[in-house]
Subunit: 242 residues, 2 copies
DNA sequence: CGGTGCTTTGACGAGTATCAATGGGAGTGG
DNA sequence: CCACTCCCATTGATACTCGTCAAAGCACCG
């Protein structure tokens, strides 16, 4: 993609033209002038799987939109026990407004592509455009709903139910429009077994055993450790404790 | 932090004059005219402990501010397993904007006093006043931070650490200004053992045993099941896995 | 080939749930 | 004032899920 500040298509920056965040993400709140202004200080960057984006208690000067890939938000106890407290997919917004330091670590779970801009630029625009703040509020409420859903899973579900819930979470994210009628879904897991364990509050061994059990029961099949096909969706949903 | 604007008491509804939500809550975003308009449709109500405020999937036509007491937000699985996903103290806002139905149950954990207003009134004002939406965003971000903190507790802490974390959570809420130097704190638990268990993802028996252990070690003392004194704050903090 | 990283599988034990009984305070009625 | 009940909390005995430790399998890569 070229980096010219060339402005076509009703004055929309090249950077933004094919960007998902411009429609479903927070940038949908901005008009073309604002987009141009923001694009001046924005940069698209690619991050390798495993790289740390934001350190715990680190000062954050940049916010980002996730363009592709999956970012995991984690919290860690002093002795190393870790919990994933959120997964961000495109076109989610990444950052914690109104606080200089993040309460969580952010790390690329897969290769990730981001569009980053300085904290100050967004905060300036938020003052101008209530619509931007409105979008942020909606995203935050969505994340809060997801976090609370997951609290139920963490606190009250068994290992078996947790793994089933996780698979459905990913399946729904891959294809949110998936009708009830569709039986089979197939996708690549964006997380390693270790990440899945950290997301579910389990160990990798327990996660592995649950996968094995699901395979043995003919509910899913797995190729290459990552590629999953859900063959009996209903039974997976039943197991998740709908 | 919170800019508290000096408004003359002239023109402020009686209902609001001594209200905590007018300073630290979302009503701080409103000028006296707006307060008057909102107060016309508002009503203060008292709810007995145990009463249900908002049913899961129920349509909500009212939002509220918590004036006193504690409200618990819960989620329940089809077989009855329950998880508390949030606790609301004064002057928290109660409601889920932009969605007609709540994803959680809300129930009075103690006797609760509320200030309720119709959904429509708030949403109308949100369009007029970006500051109101700003306050809502801040409260939502705060709740998100709390939810994620708790996910770490639910997913990765032991029963012992969970109970210690819970006691500190309540202690900090009773007296947020509590300095590091202060050793002793004393307070009434706003929750029954069953509620605490549902908050921590444990059973009441396990919670009870952990309390007993803390008492035996001289870290806390308990009178009448509800009244707790933390005698060795540092050791409680150490146990919570700071 | 022999590493290295990730996953699976197995054997065992610790931590927590479950089931069951007891304790204790508050309210009620004799 | 004392039984009686109800509700909640505590305590005990036992079962079972899941974590821990150890080893082996498998793909990828130099």
């Amino acid at each position: 993609m070229n980096l010219r500040q060339d402005v076509h298509t009703a004055g929309i920056p090249v950077l933004c033209q094919a960007c998902e965040a411009r429609h479903r993400g927070i940038c949908g709140a901005l008009d073309s002038d604002q987009l141009v202004a923001l694009a001046k200080t924005s940069s698209k960057q690619t991050i390798a799987s495993g790289a740390e984006l934001v350190g715990d208690t680190e000062t954050v000067e940049h916010y980002s939109n996730v363009l592709a890939g999956v970012v995991k938000l984690t919290k860690t106890l002093s002795d190393g026990r870790q919990q994933i407290v959120g997964l961000q997919f495109a076109p989610d917004f990444l950052g914690r407004p109104f606080k200089s330091e993040s309460a969580v670590n952010a790390e690329a779970a897969t290769d990730v592509s981001l569009c980053s801009f300085p904290k100050a630029a967004i905060e300036r625009m938020m003052k101008q455009s209530p619509e931007l703040e409105h979008r942020l509020l909606r995203q935050t409420l969505k994340e809060l709903d997801e976090a609370r859903d997951w609290m139920l899973t963490l606190g009250r579900k068994t290992a078996s139910e947790k793994v089933a819930s996780f698979l459905l979470l990913i399946a729904n994210h891959i294809d949110p429009t998936l009708g009830e009628g569709e039986e089979k879904v197939t996708f690549d897991l964006p997380l390693t077994r270790a990440d899945i364990a950290d997301f579910l509050g389990l160990t990798i061994e327990t996660v592995s055993r649950q996968f094995t059990k699901l395979r043995a029961e003919g509910i899913i099949s797995i190729e290459n450790n990552r590629h999953v096909t859900v063959t009996r969706r209903e039974r997976l949903e039943a197991r998740a404790g709908h």
